[in-house]
Symmetry: C2
Subunit: 247 residues, 2 copies
């Protein structure tokens, strides 16, 4: 519980790997504070204000309490962010255990991307921390059961998973950041895309490059994105299928 806290957060550790029991809910306190309420408030604040704007003081204000009260429940801001990071992994829907490996991988990839896009602050945190909380591990676990059914030799399992989920991580990161940028500046995605393309087109050296980008032939940013994501997923599945015999 909160009373015996880890002394300091050393550079290589994680809340989830401490020797203490995992951060638990506990019972309601006089001021209505409780670890899980604090984490929920953190997630809400991250969603509405973005990672850069979230501070311990701002969060405390949201909870109707002083900044230092939060430190009774949490050792450092990083620990709190790590808990918020794991928290949103609960949103990732896990495919039915009976699903075949292709369907399962596809569903997990879509769910992963969706979570990253709904919470653009997740990407930097997932890159910074180990991301070994219980919900993140349940997701990783399901992915591993999926790849075990692919027919790949077991030495290739982790490589294949890295391909799928590092791809969704990168794709979701860029997509989420792009959409957030448009949202906060009140510009439609298509208008912003047109603006960026127009400015790049003024540099003659990138003419050929822009032609490649435009070759998708879709009219909206959203349509191009779906096309790219779908094709990439098809490509991965086809690649795994082909590699089953290749090794």
């Amino acid at each position: 519980m909160a009373s015996d806290r880890r002394s300091a957060r050393d550079a290589r550790s994680s809340v989830w790997l401490s020797d203490r029991p995992a951060p638990a809910a506990g019972k309601e306190q006089p001021h209505g504070l409780r670890l899980d309420k604090i984490v929920d408030a953190t997630v809400r604040l991250l969603d509405s204000e973005g990672l850069a704007k979230v501070s311990m003081r701002r969060l405390a204000a949201e909870l109707g309490v002083t900044a230092m009260s939060v430190y009774w429940y949490v050792d450092t801001k990083d620990d709190l962010l790590e808990m918020a990071l794991d928290q949103v992994h609960e949103e990732i829907g896990l495919p039915d255990e009976a699903a075949d490996w292709r369907a399962a991988l596809r569903e997990l990839a879509c769910e992963h991307r969706g979570m990253l896009v709904r919470h653009p602050w997740v990407s930097p945190l997932a890159g910074e921390f180990l991301n070994v909380g219980p919900r993140a591990l349940a997701f990783a676990d399901r992915a591993q059961r999926a790849i075990r059914g692919s027919g790949l030799p077991d030495g290739s399992w982790m490589g294949a998973l890295a391909l799928v989920f590092q791809f969704t991580y990168g794709f979701g990161t860029v997509e989420g950041r792009w959409r957030e940028r448009c949202r906060t500046s009140g510009v439609s995605e298509d208008a912003f895309y047109g603006e960026v393309m127009g400015r790049l087109a003024r540099r003659p050296e990138y003419a050929e490059s822009l032609a490649t980008v435009r070759a998708r032939g879709e009219r909206t940013v959203a349509a191009m994105r779906e096309r790219d994501f779908e094709f990439a997923l098809d490509c991965v599945i086809a690649g795994i299928t082909a590699m089953r015999e290749a090794v």
Copy 2:
């Protein structure tokens, strides 16, 4: 030039998309300051101290100048970081134009990963900014020429590139962060890996999951990483090859 600066950095823009000419070197000033020297110093500081530790005051100290001097050459810290971000893209070696598409994509993927690992601060910045500086575009441009030779229908080009380079982005991000963590805490990668695995093994619910991770059968973290990366690349190439007829 520095004298007529952009007024303020609006949420959706980038130094590279401003109406003004691209940030240029200019000539040496009395105090030895110059934009390119400032950017170089920023890169060095980011490499040695990490993104979190780099501040305008710290950078200025490194340059033997007060914090506010830097603001003569740069509008905001974000603009400066964007220039540092583009700067390191110069390290990415571009394959010979005669190389076939497979060799070219492989080389670009390896170079991209290498850059990300050498500069772990690049990942968060590449996620945050548009990354449309001249060096980043030259890299993107070469990748587009490579995929054009793959035989894929042109509507799939961007999807295939997204797959390759979002994967290398995610892979390089995790690898770089992991190595930095080990470096700053003075633990070997293998010792740290053993520690994390040991702690996860105490949770019985992840037994099957850990078995999957261990199936790679390599003895060092470095060897596992190379195996995963190689397999993922093979898989992408095989996938693209297979998709040429599929569409």
